[in-house]
């Protein structure tokens, strides 16, 4: 049961990153990729109807974490107190950046919220990446299963690291690049003409950076937590992970390769393929982390015996079982709503008509 919930939460967090990741990425490229006011509106309209629902996956994942692994929820949220609060503030700023902007047709008002939207999106990707880095690297848990990390100490590793050290910053930058590419591919898919082309160009330009950072992050992870490779050695099925990661990077490169005037339809299917590749990359990387961590959920950087595992942080059996029943019902319903909304807003964004 505990293993099943570990898998479920890993899936929920992966879905969150794959979905809200493109909202964030669209925010990162927003000021660069859109050259006119109309183009800015088109980028916003591409994420407009879906960003709020995408963000709910984070809230739903946090809630699920709460009832399935209450010790992990309590420990990690209080231990990561300051960066979590900043994430909350950034989420607030991102939301109002998108939603308040259109209410007044004034350049000063709109430019202000545009910058708020873009900067908060970029910072969020770095914070999320650094958070993941912390989980992999381990935190100074005490014997009661609690910890508190300052924002930084000396940026080096050791038993008492800060939230930010060279490793977590590296993962933060990887997250920024990955989600920027993801968002750029989404915008390329949902828009047309010059705007779409510029977004695609950004994705193409960042691909080698993404590749390089992926390699560096793997090396860094092995250096920080050599244990990471153990599950891969014991369970050969783990080989799927690097295959998916490498394969998805290849798909993205192939789909976006330079060619002469292609028909719109061919361009569209290539854009879809590239975006799918990016989604697979994110899935492969996150599943890879989960696979490497298991059965730990939060390693201790001080004393290995203090690490939180699925067994010492899970809730009682009855709760996990009933939770599974209603969770399945809720997920089926939610997928239904998502399919409905995404289908209704499929295709390229249009400027005429109502908002969105």
């Amino acid at each position: 049961m505990a293993t099943l919930w570990f898998v479920i939460i890993a899936i929920m967090l992966t879905v969150y990153v794959a979905l809200d990741g493109f909202d964030l990425g669209a925010g990162v490229i927003y000021l660069i990729v859109a050259k006119t006011r109309d183009e800015r509106r088109m980028v916003l309209r591409s994420i407009g109807p879906v960003w709020d629902g995408n963000e709910v996956w984070l809230v739903a994942a946090a809630g699920t974490l709460y009832f399935a692994f209450p010790q992990l929820y309590a420990s990690s949220f209080s231990g990561f107190y300051l960066p979590l609060m900043m994430v909350l503030w950034l989420l607030m700023l991102r939301a109002i950046g998108i939603e308040f902007r259109g209410h007044i047709d004034n350049l000063v008002w709109q430019n202000f919220f545009d910058v708020v939207f873009s900067v908060s999106s970029a910072l969020l990707t770095i914070f999320f990446g650094a958070a993941l880095g912390n989980v992999v690297r381990g935190v100074p848990l005490d014997h009661e299963g609690y910890f508190f990390e300052p924002l930084w100490t000396n940026f080096k590793l050791g038993p008492h690291p800060g939230i930010l050290d060279w490793y977590t910053i590296l993962i933060g930058v990887l997250a920024l690049v990955t989600l920027t590419v993801h968002g750029a591919l989404y915008v390329a898919l949902k828009t047309e003409n010059d705007l779409s082309r510029r977004a695609r160009d950004i994705a193409v330009m960042l691909w080698p950076v993404q590749l390089l950072l992926t390699c560096l992050s793997l090396i860094g992870t092995y250096f920080v937590r050599p244990h990471v490779m153990r599950n891969y050695g014991v369970h050969p099925v783990g080989a799927l992970v690097p295959i998916v990661v490498v394969g998805s990077l290849a798909v993205m490169a192939w789909a976006n390769r330079k060619e002469q005037a292609t028909e719109q339809k061919q361009r569209d299917s290539k854009d879809k393929l590239a975006f799918l590749g990016s989604t697979l990359y994110i899935t492969g990387m996150l599943v890879g982390v989960a696979f490497a961590l298991y059965p730990l959920v939060l390693p201790s950087s001080t004393e290995p015996g203090y690490s939180l595992t699925i067994n010492n942080s899970a809730a009682g059996h009855h709760g996990l079982v009933v939770g599974l029943i209603w969770w399945i019902v809720a997920t089926v319903l939610a997928l239904g709503y998502f399919l409905f909304v995404y289908r209704l807003f499929r295709g390229k964004v249009r400027l005429e008509g109502e908002g969105y």
Binding site: P70, A315, G316, G323, A330, Y356
Partner: protein, 444 residues
């Protein structure tokens, strides 16, 4: 009270109080918007759709504020109340997660459609999207209430070997008897907010002499809803909530009512300042014997006072609890008076000309917010000193690893952000009201 406990209590209290200003309007307006959309479908008159679109604009701004101030709440159980989360998370994590999985997905998926998808949908499909948002918001309300109800009256649990509380019965948790009446009372309170806001803006338009046709619709819908829910708020929902408190949290009831010592024929205190040091009410105006009727259903019954309970199990802040309760009840009574009177005038066809009543409706706008806030303060202060009644004290639940310095930093941060957000909210909503129902839909 040591400072860390105080900071974490203030942190949660401040953020949740500000947050709830928005969902109460969301939940209160949602059914009224469904009413307007239904009238639009039935009467085939464009004015009702235009009215619904106007309220949708206000609803949209309000909803965003609800979301951005609400996300921190989900996280705050872990950040500021980690020991509580570890202790009780196996139980209340369920209801909180259900809120996210069932209600939030429903609301957020259909809100975009409702606000901006009217042209992409048939009139009936658009009506359904309004219903979906209404259902999602009211479902959300149920899961939060179930969470608080469990903290007030824990059910369906068992103690695990490590001392934590785990779930033993899903249905007992979800169908907690405390939750039923608390939900009814809370939702009725939200409906009052929605009704008063709609009636108030309608009254504004009538007094201003602009958009009068809309003003009449808003006043009519608001007054009918307001009349119904302000009565339900007292009876049966408020009465039944009071009964639950009386039966299961007797020190709380004594503190709320300002009953310091045992008395035959215990009175209801209408006004008077509680003097905790001397254990009495200063300059009281009371209804003698009435408290027994509310509780035992026997006029003049003898009631236990606060001093019948050990001091460590009495709510610490008796004064604030007493005032929260009295403000809530006082306002609730005034709401009945305003709405019943307005309804009578409406029935006689005289309301729209009765400028004095329109002024009262206009000026009453902030008061449901105060009443709802006072009600929640009553519930949460009343539960003290318990975090989970009878199982965990508040003093034992906060995050021991988060220092006062960090807590103060983030509390100040939230206060600053919420001040700015509040000003932006008022600015944008007032703009919509000033532009009126005939204005264009806003877009991205």
């Amino acid at each position: 009270m040591d400072s860390a406990l105080l900071i974490h209590r203030l942190h949660f209290a401040f953020t949740i109080t500000f947050h709830y200003l928005f969902p109460q309007l969301t939940m209160g307006l949602a059914p009224l918007i469904v009413v307007l959309k239904t009238l639009a479908l039935r009467r085939k008159d464009g004015i009702y759709n235009q009215a619904a679109r106007f309220w949708a604009r206000i609803f949209g701004i309000n909803f965003v504020l609800g979301v951005v101030t609400g996300v921190p709440m989900e996280f705050q159980f872990g950040t500021n109340w980690s020991h509580f989360s570890r202790f009780a998370g196996g139980v209340i994590g369920q209801t909180l997660a259900m809120e996210g999985m069932f209600a939030f997905f429903l609301e957020s998926a259909f809100l975009g459609l409702f606000l901006f998808g009217e042209k992409r949908l048939t009139p009936r499909a658009h009506w359904w999207s309004a219903v979906a948002v209404f259902l999602g918001s009211w479902l959300s309300g149920y899961f939060i209430i179930a969470t608080d109800a469990w903290m007030q009256y824990p059910v369906g649990y068992e103690r695990a070997a490590d001392g934590s509380i785990q779930l033993s019965s899903f249905w007992k948790l979800v169908l907690n008897p405390w939750a039923g009446w608390q939900y009814a009372h809370n939702m009725s309170g939200a409906a009052i907010t929605g009704a008063f806001v709609m009636a108030s803006i309608g009254a504004f338009y009538l007094l201003w002499g602009k958009y009068e046709e809309y003003g009449r619709i808003f006043v009519k819908v608001g007054v009918v809803a307001g009349c119904l829910f302000s009565i339900l708020q007292v009876f049966p929902t408020g009465d039944q909530q009071g009964q639950m408190v009386f039966r299961h949290q007797p020190p709380t009831l004594a503190a709320m009512e300002g009953l310091f010592t045992e008395q035959p024929g215990a009175p209801i205190v209408l006004i008077g300042q509680p003097n905790v040091d001397e254990g009495r009410i200063d300059n009281p105006v009371v209804i003698p014997g009435a408290l027994g009727f509310l509780t035992y259903r026997r006029w003049g019954a003898r009631m236990q006072g606060l001093d019948a309970f050990p001091p460590e199990f009495r709510p610490q802040n008796i004064t604030l609890l007493y005032y929260s309760y009295h403000i809530m009840v006082g306002l609730g009574t005034i709401f009945i008076a305003i709405m019943v009177l307005s309804a009578l005038l409406l029935w006689r066809g005289k309301l729209f000309q009765a400028r004095w009543m329109l002024w009262i409706l206009l000026l009453s706008l902030p008061f449901p917010y105060i009443a709802n806030t006072a009600g929640w303060l009553t519930a949460e202060l009343g539960r003290q000193p318990w975090l989970v009644y009878g199982l965990m004290l508040t003093a034992d639940g906060y995050s021991k690893t988060v220092s006062v310095g960090n807590g103060m930093f983030t509390l100040l941060g939230f206060m600053g952000m919420y001040t700015v957000l509040g000003i932006l909210f008022l600015f944008l909503v007032c703009r919509e009201i000033e532009r009126g129902p005939a204005g264009e839909a806003v877009g991205h």
